[in-house]
């Protein structure tokens, strides 16, 4: 079946022509492709939202992974925010801490919702539950936030890749951060075009990011990359809402990401052979967790 849009340009054009929100176009597309009524599709996304809420809640209480490499940072951040004199501001740190919370739960093999992947699952919910306190959305608007993110994720997954093994972290956290930025813009009352600008600005600043998980675990540096992905998306959303535009159109940024991913050596695409995984400490941690010798570390 022919989808309602294949790229961001078509998505924005359709939203503008029909005077609809991007989330609405995505809902209509799901109805069309899956041949299910609106109510079903909204209910399914509502369940995803509940999974995200529960993961954040769990992470904010404090979880630790089996390896011991990650956990507890979301708690530290929330405690720091309560002191009330943060430098980057409470909304930004709230987003960061809730992104961290989600990924700490993920690292502990808890239940999360892939947005677009498990390793990058923190950015979309982290930003959502932070901007929620400022924008006071209805439950439906929160569900729509996920559809707006999904519309952009759909374009990336079908025209490029969301897999770290194929495109590095830029394909995972980079895509997630762009998706979140686009959704923040819609929730804050921005235009579809501004969502597209926010996505482009975010992804441009995550191009080239490699996937180099220490010991092959989805922990270091994944959790903190979600933190910074969340921060990146909130700032990019503000830039787009201020009227800043990207010189390179959104779809071309997505293509560039894909091309960069394809030219990345496999050592930097989720093989735990290069980057941070290959540092002396990275190798030492790997040996400590899985056993084996550290001779020849940093290969």
């Amino acid at each position: 079946m022919e989808p309602l849009f294949r790229n961001v340009k078509e998505l924005v054009a359709r939203a503008e022509q029909e005077n609809k929100l991007i989330s609405e176009i995505m809902i209509e597309q799901e109805m069309l492709v899956t041949d299910r009524p609106r109510e079903d599709i909204m209910k399914q996304m509502d369940r995803n939202l509940t999974v995200m809420e529960e993961a954040v809640e769990k992470g904010l209480k404090g979880v630790h992974s089996v390896s011991g490499l990650t956990g507890g940072d979301a708690v530290l951040l929330q405690a720091y925010m309560e002191k009330g004199n943060t430098l980057s501001g409470n909304l930004l740190l709230d987003a960061v801490s809730k992104a961290v919370a989600t990924n700490e739960v993920n690292a502990a093999m808890g239940t999360i919702c892939a947005t677009p992947t498990a390793g990058s699952a923190g950015v979309v919910p982290g930003t959502l539950f932070a901007v929620k306190n400022q924008l006071n959305p209805t439950r439906e608007q929160m569900i729509r936030y996920l559809f707006t993110s999904g519309a952009f994720g759909f374009v990336v997954a079908n025209n490029a890749s969301i897999s770290g093994a194929e495109g590095g972290c830029q394909a995972e956290v980079g895509s997630a951060a762009g998706m979140a930025a686009a959704a923040i813009v819609e929730m804050a009352g921005g235009t579809p075009q501004q969502s597209s600008e926010a996505f482009a600005i975010t992804l441009k600043n995550m191009l080239g990011l490699v996937c180099d998980p220490v010991a092959g675990l989805v922990e270091v540096p994944c959790v903190k990359r979600n933190a910074m992905g969340a921060a990146n998306s909130v700032v990019a959303a503000d830039m787009a809402l201020a009227g800043v535009t990207s010189r390179i159109p959104c779809d071309e940024v997505i293509s560039a990401m894909y091309e960069i991913g394809k030219s990345m050596p496999s050592a930097l695409r989720e093989t735990a052979k290069g980057g941070l995984a290959a540092t002396p400490t990275g190798k030492w941690l790997e040996a400590k967790i899985f056993g084996g010798s550290v001779v020849g570390s940093g290969q």
Binding site: A114, G119, A157, I162, S163, G216, E270, T271, K273
Partner: protein
């Protein structure tokens, strides 16, 4: 889904579950060959427990994935992981060979991100199966009329074909039809398909 990785955990579990689905019963043993990124990071990404969980018919959000090794032992399923160095087209590739005293089956799957998968090979037949839709797999002799008979039977039960692929190893030899359909197929239909001339085996993947 259960973390930590949508491609290496959830996608891996799905590949395992499709293999189990196609096998039609709990296998007694499994040899799991891992390629590319799967081979390098399977321990850290819990790809191993996820595939075993899939072979035990667990969904991607089933908490039992975490303890699938113990569960497999209880059910008497032996398993072995073999990291391979051969280069493959997709970085997240697994070949699962499963069996019991009656038969064995080999399946190759790739995990393309976000938990989405594709089955790329079954018992040596190249194919492309997403696992997103219910599907019927028909092993048959490579004779004229087979495809028409199967299509006619599905038409009789008002089952619409979304995607279909036909492949064979050699002309006149064994062939495979992969038919993705829009709704789950009842056993009655499978039985009728099995009765058709030159049909060797019919299996299905439920939604």
């Amino acid at each position: 889904m259960i973390g930590p990785s949508s491609s290496h955990t959830a996608g891996a579990a799905r590949i395992g579950r499709v293999a189990r689905d196609l096998f039609g019963r709990q296998p007694k043993w499994a040899k799991i060959h891992l390629y590319g990124s799967f081979a390098e990071t399977y321990k850290g990404h819990s790809t191993d427990v996820a595939i075993v969980g899939g072979l035990l018919d667990y969904d991607t959000f089933d908490e039992r994935i975490k303890t699938s090794f113990e569960e497999a032992e209880k059910l008497g399923m032996a398993f072995e992981f073999i990291p391979e160095t051969a280069s493959v087209e997709h970085p997240n590739t697994a070949r699962i060979v499963i069996g019991d005293e009656r038969s064995e089956m080999s399946l190759m799957g790739i995990s393309i991100g976000g938990g989405k998968i594709e089955i790329t090979e079954l018992n040596g037949f190249p194919l492309r199966l997403s696992g997103n839709h219910p599907a019927i797999l028909v092993v048959h002799d490579d004779r004229s009329g087979c495809i028409a008979n199967v299509a006619n039977c599905l038409y009789k039960y008002d089952i619409n074909i979304g995607h279909m692929e036909v492949s064979r190893k050699e002309k006149g030899d064994m062939a495979l039809m992969v038919i993705e359909v829009d709704q789950n197929v009842d056993k009655e239909v499978l039985d009728e398909l099995t009765e058709l001339p030159n049909i060797t085996q019919v299996t299905r993947i439920a939604d």
